[in-house]
């Protein structure tokens, strides 16, 4: 019997189409504050996107010949992907280091990561002037293999596939496809290993994109070590996002979460805070080394120098100490605060490299137009909508259906179980 037939047959005998149609309908209240804010913005964003495709990128952005990349690349793509780094760090901890404790948040993190890539990397398409040629580097008639962007784009694509495989057991459980679930979860470890490798390369690759812009980026932010900096900071960027997102979803989707998970939450947050402290420390140390190595003292007593100090002290050193202190004290509230400060710091850092410090010396500095911001929010809100849709339907936060545990009684594979 093929898998399709299984899917249809397993789903309590319901025809799959009917099931999908029913699931497509919205659930829950329509007039939540989030909906009231996000719907008009999304609608406006869609209008702006249509306008942009008719009248050109310049019609809604403040980009210029001197500033070819702005908010859409600097924030949506470069920053968004850094925050999506939580998925590879967590899969590393759970599947490679076998730290069982974090298993219950893997799914939601992978889902978050996958959607982030889909939308934020997808935002790249909005920024392409000639998107119809995007097929060229993919189907292989023109491989620019010496291009960092080529590497990054391919890694985005492959990593999305890996994440989809990592997440697919949840989809199978939702559809009630038992056999498919077994096959898919058997592929998890391979997907995880592949995904971690890809992530290391493209997280640093996003930094490597800017290596040739040597004279254009302020020397305090440019060094040949940008790729390493981007990689290390993606660890705590991703985990801070996991902590933050976890505390939000635990409130909003409280009905989805079993008691067991609720209780495990504190332990998880503690553990993550510890990892964040370490990663932040390594990052701070690297920054200091690069600073000394680059003999950057000369720039410190300038406006950009003060700005650099704000970033390094206020948003790297302070959250590091805060994380350290709060996990020692076991203070969940402070950990959450630290994660928010860290996230602000990551946004600052990415924007400093890509937007603020890029052409810092230009006579007229680029400031994004309100329309660029609306489009960015549109991307963000649409992602949250999809996220919410999935959470309310698939076993992401809640427990897997009963049959999952029943069917796997005597196959003890490391990968193939999902429990609190």
């Amino acid at each position: 019997m093929n898998n399709r037939a299984y899917i249809a047959a397993d789903n309590d005998g319901q025809p799959i189409l009917k099931f999908l149609l029913r699931e497509l309908k919205p659930k829950g209240k329509a007039l939540t504050p989030f909906n009231i804010i996000s719907v008009p913005i999304i609608l406006l964003g869609v209008v702006l996107i249509v306008y942009r495709f008719i009248y050109g990128i310049g019609s809604i952005t403040n980009l210029s010949q001197d500033m070819p990349w702005g908010l859409w690349i600097g924030f949506d793509v470069v920053t968004g992907v850094a925050f999506a780094g939580g998925a590879y760090v967590l899969t590393f901890m759970v599947y490679i280091l076998n730290m069982k404790k974090y298993h219950s948040i893997v799914r939601v993190t992978v889902l978050n990561g996958f959607l982030a890539y889909l939308f934020y990397a997808g935002a790249l398409l909005l920024d392409l002037g000639r998107p119809w040629n995007v097929i060229n580097p993919i189907i292989g008639n023109n491989f620019g293999v010496s291009s960092v962007l080529f590497l990054v784009a391919w890694h985005f694509l492959l990593y999305m596939v890996a994440q989809l495989i990592e997440f697919s057991p949840a989809i199978a459980e939702w559809l009630g496809a038992r056999r498919a679930r077994k096959i898919l979860s058997g592929m998890t470890l391979a997907a995880v290993i592949f995904g971690i490798t890809l992530s290391m390369l493209h997280q640093s690759g996003l930094g490597a994109l800017y290596l040739m812009a040597k004279e254009k980026i302020h020397p305090l932010w440019y060094s040949e070590f940008i790729p390493i900096m981007f990689f290390v900071s993606s660890i705590f960027a991703g985990l801070s996002m996991v902590i933050f997102e976890g505390s939000v979803s635990h409130r909003i989707f409280a009905d989805q979460i079993s008691d067991k998970h609720q209780k495990a939450q504190a332990g998880i947050i503690h553990g993550l805070a510890k990892v964040c402290t370490g990663a932040l420390f390594a990052y701070f140390f690297l920054q200091v080394l690069v600073f000394l190595h680059g003999k950057n003292w000369v720039y410190i007593n300038t406006p950009m120098g003060y700005w650099f100090l704000v970033e390094m002290l206020g948003f790297v050193l302070v959250p590091m100490l805060l994380f350290f202190y709060s996990y020692r004290k076991g203070n969940i509230f402070l950990i959450r605060l630290a994660s928010i400060v860290t996230m602000v710091g990551v946004v600052l850092n990415r924007l400093n490299v890509t937007v603020i410090g890029f052409r810092w010396d230009a006579a007229v500095h680029y400031v994004p137009s309100w329309m660029e911001i609306v489009v960015t929010l549109t991307v963000l809100f649409t992602e949250i909508w999809i996220f919410r849709w999935v959470i309310n339907r698939m076993p992401v936060l809640r427990e897997s259906p009963k049959w999952v545990n029943e069917t796997k009684t005597n196959q003890v594979s490391v990968v193939d179980h999902r429990r609190a």
Binding site: W69, G129, N133, V148, L149, V414
Partner: protein, 288 residues
């Protein structure tokens, strides 16, 4: 165990793919080194600032006609409507004119950046742009140290505009680039890069009072096919200071590390996974 062996092979398969790509990488930038590059020598000492080349360029490339002298205020830069501009500079030696356009680097950052090979270094030296391949990502603009490529931000079918040394339209047919052919003051000279450097040196040696002793483009950005002579230090002519290192070499370290990461990291991860497996089983029992 069975499962792990299988996944290991899957991972190795993927690695093979990247290794193959990694190999191409080493071959690409060097191509064409055997053949001599052509280029242009522009001499600011001879240039009288007539801006004839601007008009010829616009004409040859279907761009709008440049503004007349009296409407020009201040210094201009090439943009999406002007692939080249000639500016007037007040320097330590009085008024000097300088032409700006793509430098046609020997190892162009733009071509290394381009993920579709739309921007490409031809065997003969000129760096050209091909619209049927370009996806408009503008990474070439981010990477070019001279800010040469310009993008039509206000078009639904935007093109990258930059000097192509008239490669496809004229040079390949054995003609001179439009600007070179029409310059009334012989300020522009077309030839092989080697010939041009010899000629430039000769001019400097024969007239040391007239020339500043440097050929812009001999070493800049790893060497460029477009060369420039000047009576004054080049910064007085608004020439950007760029490093002498080739720009693509700045990303090579990163790109070359990719194949080894793809071999080492998966193996390492699998190793760690195997060695921590015991812990999990122990924990398992505790849990259940």
């Amino acid at each position: 165990m069975d499962l792990n062996r299988r996944s290991f092979f899957k991972v190795m398969g993927a690695t093979g793919l990247t290794l193959a790509v990694g190999k191409d990488l080493k071959a690409s930038p060097k191509a064409g080194k055997e053949k001599e590059f052509y280029g242009v020598l522009y001499d600011s000492v001879r240039c009288k600032g007539c801006r004839g080349c601007e008009y010829d360029c616009a004409d040859a490339n279907g761009l709008p006609e440049p503004l007349p002298n009296k409407e020009i205020k201040g210094l201009r830069k090439p943009d999406e409507f002007h692939r080249t501009v000639v500016n007037e500079y007040k320097t330590s030696k009085g008024i000097v004119y300088a032409k700006m356009q793509c430098m046609h680097c020997n190892e162009p950052a733009c071509a290394a950046a381009c993920l579709t090979q739309a921007m490409t270094k031809t065997q003969d030296g000129p760096v050209i742009w091909r619209g049927d391949k370009c996806m408009g990502c503008r990474y070439c603009m981010v990477s070019c140290p001279y800010d040469t490529p310009k993008f039509e931000f206000h078009s639904a079918n935007p093109k990258i505009q930059k000097c192509t040394m008239c490669y496809e339209t004229r040079v390949q047919k054995g003609e001179l680039p439009a600007c070179v052919e029409n310059c009334p003051n012989e300020a522009l000279m077309f030839g092989t890069r080697r010939e041009l450097i010899t000629e430039a040196r000769k001019r400097i040696v024969e007239n040391p009072d007239l020339y500043y002793d440097h050929i812009n483009g001999e070493h800049e950005a790893g060497g460029t096919c477009w060369l420039q002579l000047s009576p004054v230090p080049f910064h007085e002519l608004g020439v950007k200071t760029v490093s002498n290192e080739s720009y693509p070499s700045m990303t090579k370290g990163f790109l070359y590390s990719v194949p080894s990461v793809f071999v080492l990291v998966p193996a390492l991860l699998l190793g760690i996974q195997q060695s921590t497996k015991g812990n999990s089983l122990k924990e398992d029992n505790e849990d259940e």
